[in-house]
């Protein structure tokens, strides 16, 4: 059994090839690119919205990409229970599109940050983290200017009370501290789930941590969890 991944390419996506490589060469699963003008995502089991700077981040990150024709198809796919994961710019697009709650605003320090961070797994039963232990610390790189997660207090309570926070920035011991929060995200949030649990967004790049020569293989915990759930 295999599962078929689709990697969406928006104008300005730049982690599409990394995601494609991780799925094809490391996960050994079938994968195809999906152009943003495509009106259908039929035949796929999981859709990846990769990182990058879709439409140059004009107006706001993800603000223009959410109107790409493919996003209607992604919404329908998600409504039917299909698995969708947005990484970095993909997370920003999913928030703008309303498939995930809240928004990602500029980092508190106003700098682009590109480095490895530690994130703690808060929910180890989701479609995207089922191979992790609760509390496990993963080393996965971030590379963003707008990763500061914000939502209103009611939304935050709903995320926290329903195990919808997937990952939190932490120190190397797994402690959630202000110092370990690279961008000012509320409650150190690095990744979240939608209400149904089939749509996830995360700022760290699991596709950049899939081989020891890249510095970490911890991204495979995320990517292999998806395969584990579907195959």
């Amino acid at each position: 059994m295999t599962m078929k991944f689709g990697v969406i390419q928006f104008p300005g996506s730049n982690c599409d090839q990394d995601a494609y490589f991780a799925v094809r060469d490391i996960l050994k699963q079938p994968v195809e690119y999906i152009w943003h003008q495509s009106a259908s995502v039929d035949g796929f089991d999981c859709i990846i919205l990769p990182g990058g700077f879709s439409y140059g981040d004009y107006l706001r990150t993800g603000a223009i990409a959410k109107f790409s024709p493919v996003m209607s198809a992604v919404r329908e796919f998600a409504d039917n229970g299909g698995l969708v994961i947005g990484i970095c710019n993909g997370f920003q697009i999913l928030c703008e599109a309303g498939l995930l709650p809240g928004a990602l605003i500029p980092n508190i320090g106003l700098r682009f940050i590109c480095r490895y961070v530690s994130v703690r797994v808060e929910n180890s039963t989701s479609n995207f983290t089922n191979l992790c232990r609760k509390g496990q610390v993963l080393r996965i790189p971030i590379a963003h200017h707008g990763g500061n997660y914000y939502c209103d207090p009611e939304t935050l309570a709903a995320l926290e009370d329903n195990d919808r926070v997937l990952l939190r920035y932490c120190d190397e011991n797994g402690d959630i501290t202000d110092e370990a929060n690279p961008n000012g995200s509320l409650n150190n949030i690095a990744g979240i789930l939608n209400e149904r649990g089939n749509v996830a967004g995360m700022m760290p790049h699991p596709e950049r941590a899939v081989e020891s020569m890249l510095g970490s293989e911890d991204g495979l915990y995320i990517l292999k969890s998806i395969v584990e759930r579907l195959v």
Partner: protein, 81 residues
């Protein structure tokens, strides 16, 4: 012709990191009376004024695209020439 001036601002609950930095810079320049700086966006839209319901159209533009309801508020004024 008509022109819409749209102002998009961060909600008060959000820390405006850019505004804070600019506030500090103004204080360094000797403007000691600066209490707060908030930075937003100003968008000028030129419109044909055949549609007499421009207010509704511009409001829809703001809701659908120009402002993010999670983090921003907006207001606009329309000038008909």
């Amino acid at each position: 012709m008509a022109k819409a001036n749209v102002y998009v601002t961060l909600k008060p609950a959000l820390l405006d990191a850019q505004g804070k930095v600019v506030q500090g810079a103004l204080e360094n320049l000797g403007f000691t009376n600066v209490q707060s700086v908030r930075i937003g966006k100003f968008i000028e839209i030129e419109l044909s004024d055949e549609d007499d319901n421009l207010e509704q159209a511009v409001d829809e533009m703001c809701r659908k695209l120009l402002a993010n309801p999670n983090t921003e508020t907006y207001r606009f004024e329309i000038h008909r020439s």
